[in-house]
Amino acid sequence: MYRPGPDTLWRRASPLTRLAVLAVVAAMLPLWPAPVLLGALCLALAGAAGLGFGRALGLRLLVLMSPVGLALGLVHGFLIERGPPGICGPFACYPEGLRYALLVFSRLALLLSVSLIFVMTTRPSDLARALDGAGVRPSVSYLLTAPLSLVESVGQEARQIRDSLQMRGLSARSTLRERFRMLAGMVNPLVRGLITEAPIRAEALEMRGFRASPKRGLIDPVEETAREIWLRRGLLALALLQLGLLLLWR
């Protein structure tokens, strides 16, 4: 999912600093009202445009969040009774429910967009190195980064299986039934492949000394300025402060 782009302050920042920004955003979700969150979402989209993938991010958000938004609006605005009802054309709706749906939607959209920005600007290997550099145990950093690094190889595998199924007569572009058959045909070898390959990968890691020592060396040690380290600490403090405020309010 990583996308190369112009050299910006965000891309130059350590992946850990970017994670700290993600923590600040995650902590603000339960605290702030929908307009603030939507404003932050607009900022995130503008930031993505500056990083060179605003359109790609916008499209992904649209595809992922449209059904979520629709479902939230229907369920909370029309199906669940929340506050006094209003009239929306021929239907009775609940304005309070719609406001709640908007709040949940803005929380999800903001978290998703910032997470996508993180993933699209951070190579899993860079994140792993940053974690190693910070002294995180190799097994923990592997656990945190493996899902990101596996996404692409699983995608490659899926494309190969799809091509092979297409060569044998199934089509991903015909009827819905054919598409389901294609999907069913893909799931089995993909999952089976992942399961059977897991011990081979584990053995290969062990053979190359993974977890042989509690701390790894690094071919390119992570170098951070004191300013960035302080910035990260400040961001983490801000995240904690928001969580503290939330606890106080409740």
Binding site: S125, P138, R208, R211, A212, S213, G217
Partner: protein
Amino acid sequence: MALNVSDLSFSWPGKPPLFRGLSFALAPGERLSILAGNGMGKTTLARGLAGFLTTEGGLYWQGEALNSMSRADHARLVQIVGQRPHLQLSGRGYSLREEVAFGPENLGLPVAEIRARTAEALHFLNLTHLAERDCRRLSGGETQRAALAGALAMRPRLLILDEPMTDLDAESRDALAGHLRSLPWEMAVIFLDIGWQSWMAGLVDRHLLLDQGEMHGPLTTEALFATPLPERIFLAGQPA
């Protein structure tokens, strides 16, 4: 002798032995091939010889049992490069250089040592020009060499190569065989393959034959072709 294999046997639960009574010794720097047909258990044997399986019998390196070694000592001692090299890439490194450095990094070596080993392994396998390439964008042959570079960067004393040349073109095979002949340190190498291969000429001079779980040999290359052994083992050609 460096490696001592004594009466090594292995079978999957409820199955007949995949190999039994395997005994041989290997000196530092010595190269040996184990030849067997498809499905005869070469990959399992490779894992058994590397100490990754619970086998019966003895497996010792300079008198020390392989399965009693620490993870770090084991990784420094033995490396396998298998038939599916893409599964041997850790995925922890974006570039090939980072990927090759993965092993030395795990040993907690100093930066200068990690860089030296990485550069040496890349140079050795003629991969220096691909050092900054995304590992997932390597061709099959390049991935094979990348996996081998990752293994060599560990500077193992014993290298086990399971059909190492499968994805390589003839030119790359000869080049790799040439590289293996001129390794800068004494490393014992065990080649597992489906039969005698032309690139083995001058590189391997002792051969074991695995047939239906039984081991025959060791034989010299001349003796290998003078012996009336099962024809199915010899699929790949004749000596030059």
